[in-house]
Amino acid sequence: ASVSGFLSLLSFTILFLAWLAGFSSRLFAVIRFESIIHEFDPWFNYRSTHHLSTNGFYEFLNWFDERAWYPLGRIVGGTVYPGLMVTAGLIHYILNLLHVTVHIRDVCVFLAPVFSGLTAVSTFLLTRELWNQGAGLLAACFIAIVPGYISRSVAGSFDNEGIAIFALQFTYYLWVKSVKTGSVFWTIGCCLSYFYMVSAWGGYVFIINLIPLHVFVLLLMQRFSRRLYIAYSTFYIVGLVLSMQIPFVGFQPIRTSEHMAAAGVFALLQAYAFLQYLKDRLTRQEFQTLFFLGVSLAAGVVFLTLTKPSLPPLLRYAKIHIPIIASVSEHQPTTWVSFFFDLHILVCTFPAGLWFCIKNINDERVFVALYAISAVYFAGVMVRLMLTLTPVVCMLSAIAFSSVFEHYLGDDMKRENPIKQHPFYPVKNSSVYSKLIVTMLMLMLLMMFAVHCTWVTSNAYSSPSVVLASYNHDGSRNILDDFREAYYWLRQNTDEHARVMSWWDYGYQIAGMANRTTLVDNNTWNNSHIALVGKAMSSNESAAYEIMKSLDVDYVLIIFGGVIGYSGDDINKFLWMVRIAEGEHPKDIRESDYFTPQGEFRVDKAGSPTLLNCLMYKMSYYRFGEMQLDFRTPPGFDRTRNAEIGNKDIRLKHLEEAFTSEHWLVRIYRVKKQENRQALDHKLRNIAAKQKYTSKKVLPSRFH
């Protein structure tokens, strides 16, 4: 008893340390900069959470945001996965109830690191179910620090994925548990966790396809059991009903093709169970007749529906998905370098874990094998889905490392354990030296992994991108806070209802930090609206003025990196604006007009005249020609594109410069109101009258 107590104390300590390590390695950005929300989408999530915590849950569900997509607006409550906001709001509420007064921003900033600890715990639980306690602890340590997961869960990255990976792993743990036990209790837990996942992230589709796949493969392997039947039937029905409670999901689970595999497997499982039941009751002869009758009946139904023009959903599924498979090339696929960068040693060792799992197969290891194979496929197709691969890689690598350690780290206690599979217990025979070398090697690899993870987290994944930092030769640091400077200027100096036009990347930040109305934002649901903004940016000034007038634009905000050499600015994104505008307005905007005859995109004298006179160019380089950055370069030298600009004498007619931040990173222009019509000279009007007009009226006599 004392041994097991000691073991659980050890496990608890290791899990706690893993949580602590995971939490602290996500704090680079907070320590280097401050407790700030990162990037773009998190700003929207933060703004919604703020709305939720100030106005209450029902007000949030009914929120119509008139500050986005002017003049359309956005129904926020019905178009977001509310799990993230509700989680942060709830934590904030509870803390305030306990008189721990924290600002909602701090809750949002630290939510993802805290949840990474929960992910580690649920990964431990899942791996323990699949293999053993030791592998579970290793898996928890891996997932706590692996860059593939840190990339989406550093402090300040307040995004759906931060909490969704926890929900994913916990749902899988409860699923494996319910398949193992066949108890409705665990299955209901699984459904609740699934509900949380649905409320948090669109990636729940992965669960609702992987679990049916698991059931289907188990049926094929003739591993049908009562436990499986109870688990899946309960999960499908309760999970379906629960998932439909999220307003954004609504009736999708019974309508769209992504969910049809689950329905199909549900039907199949019922049929299979029914046949099993009949098999017990009938003689072999009767059963065969009945079976053929059933099969021919099913074939008839399928045939009838095939000939009918409206295909049943299951068949439509395949039909819709063929173009999706074909259009996979649209997404960014993953190079081997990205795999290695995000997973390091784990990418080489997890196939070994998969090998061990398949060699010692059972119901739940079928699940992890399917999980690995499907996730690795999706990660290969799209670099963003590395996130769903990372947990399974951690688990399988932990299994691989643990099964090596188990035999080479030979502790004496284990040797007396009765669970030896082999009569000649190997550790006895293998020399002490080989044990020592292998153990040292494995520890060395793990140490390198830890160092790699820290380096990657620190260098690649801990930049808030709202605040930039540059380093001087002596290692001292300059903070470039232009974004917040400009947004704060907007907040303080413009009318409360002013409408700001910018490219969609900055929509959420303008709404979140400047609290002003935007035309387009990162929720890119309306392509024609974005194309209109793109058209305004890529037209000449007077054409753009017409568009801006029709959209009631008061200010235009652009990002310009030419002074400090910031490469993510609007001129570098400009071709996308042109392309999107061309897609909707092919008569007015042509991508080829923005290239030189040689097909180059250049901003210097050789650049195309259309580019040199378009609104974006003019706004970016307005008065830049007067600025000499250093003595080796001429005035108007763009550091990002390493070129002297081609149009230095820029005059604006309908716009005026309103604000330019310290390093020129953000420039804001005010759109002038229309001038009075028919401006006349100051000379008095000279009306040629033939004779002087005198009134013929006779005044009444009383005025005399």
């Binding site: 996979v328 090339s329 696929p333 993953t334 190079t335 081997w336 370098v337 990205s338 795999f339 290695f340 960068f341 040693i345 990418v347 080489c348 060792t349 997890f350 196939p351 070994a352 998969l354 090998w355 398949i358 060699k359 197969i361 094998a369 690995a372 194979i373 690795v376 496929y377 990660a379 290969g380 197709v381 691989a400 099964s403 090596v404 035999h407 080479y408 082999h422 009569p423 000649f424 190997p426 550790v427 025979n429 293998s430 020399s431 080989s434 070398i437 292998v438 090697l441 060395m444 690899l445 390198m448 160092v451 790699h452 380096w455 991508e591 080829s592 290239f595 005859p597 040689q598 097909g599």
Partner: protein, 336 residues
């Protein structure tokens, strides 16, 4: 119904005869000559187009049908060099796309004689290339129905690429003829799949009395590992992006198998990485087997040493390749 059709036919004939008569009786002799020349040219072009969607021109035909004045049709001409000795790989790809475009037009419902697709191969009409002062292939030029080709009548191949859809947009731009590109469906994939399924089915049928191999865990584990290794070594990236196998420096003749940037990769490189990953995996499995199998001690010792060697060597090698690609990465292990 037949009677109606017949009467329709009759009217059509009547109209044709009437037209022919009226054409014959045109007053001005020069005008008449011009029109007969024009209709001759059009019917000539139509005849060739019916044989082949893209008309092959040589110097003489080019001068007579394109250069010489009476013309009421636009002609899109691809100037190319398809002979194998010219070694123009781009020309072949451009030609395939161009054929797709021309065929889409040839078999579309909107097909008229307003526009024709033609090509001039350098080895058949080098004089045309000289006449037009052209020194690069492939080049697409639109010869409009009226006037000489302008600057925009030369297709900007570098900028827009040679996809048939892009070409169709350009054609629509220049001539107002809208062509919907219809690509012939690719039967190779389904056919291969069908063959594979048939092969597996027949194999299962032949061995129907001995289906034990389906329950062989090694086979399943091995195929799962292959799939995983293929994916983690970035084969999907290769499939979608189609990089070259390796890069040969034209000046020094040196072949580099590893791409210098972390954003891209060569096919050879991914094969190397696949092997390295597999070797490390094998090393781990060997270490496990060395401890658990019931072979004699000597063999197990060899397995153990081999496992250590594989893991150490290939992981450090992999790390050094990664380090060479990812500039500024500070760590290495044994190999520099």
């Amino acid at each position: 119904v037949d009677a109606v059709a017949a009467s329709e036919m009759f009217y059509k004939l009547l109209i044709v005869v009437f037209l022919a008569v009226s054409l014959q009786g045109a007053p001005a002799d020069g005008q008449k000559k011009k029109e007969t020349l024009l209709s001759e040219k059009v019917s000539q072009m139509m005849e060739w187009t019916s044989k082949r969607a893209v008309i092959r021109l040589n110097g003489e035909k080019f001068r007579r049908l394109i250069r010489a004045p009476p013309r009421n049709y636009s002609v899109i001409i691809m100037f190319t060099a398809l002979q194998p000795q010219r070694q123009c790989g781009v020309c072949k790809q451009a030609d395939e796309e161009y054929q797709i475009l021309a065929n889409s037009w040839r078999y579309s419902n909107a097909f008229t004689n307003r526009i024709f697709f033609a090509m001039v191969d350098f080895d058949e009409g080098s004089d045309v290339f000289q006449m037009l002062n052209m020194n690069s292939a492939p080049t697409f030029i639109n010869f409009p129905a009226k006037g000489k080709p302008k600057r925009a009548d030369t297709y900007e191949l570098q900028v827009r690429g040679f996809a048939a859809e892009q070409l169709a947009r350009w054609v629509a731009d220049r001539t107002d003829v809208h062509i919907r590109v219809i690509r012939p469906p690719n039967y190779a994939g389904p056919l291969m799949l069908g063959l594979l399924l048939a092969f597996i089915g027949s194999l299962a049928y032949v061995r129907r009395n001995n289906l034990e191999f389906l329950f062989n865990k090694n086979v399943w584990a091995f195929s799962a590992l292959c799939f995983v290794l293929i994916m983690t070594s970035g084969q999907m990236w290769n499939h979608i992006r189609g990089p070259p196998y390796a890069h040969k420096n034209p000046n020094t003749g040196q072949v580099s198998y590893i791409h210098g940037s972390s954003q891209a990769q060569f096919v050879a490189e991914t094969h190397i990485v696949l092997l390295f990953n597999a070797a490390v995996t094998l090393g781990i499995v060997l270490l496990h087997e060395a401890a658990t199998s019931d072979l004699d001690v000597g063999k197990r010792k060899i397995m153990c040493v081999a496992g250590i060697g594989l893991v150490v060597l290939f992981f450090s090698w992999l790390l050094s390749i990664f380090r060479a690609k990812y500039h500024g990465y500070p760590y290495s292990f044994l190999l520099g």
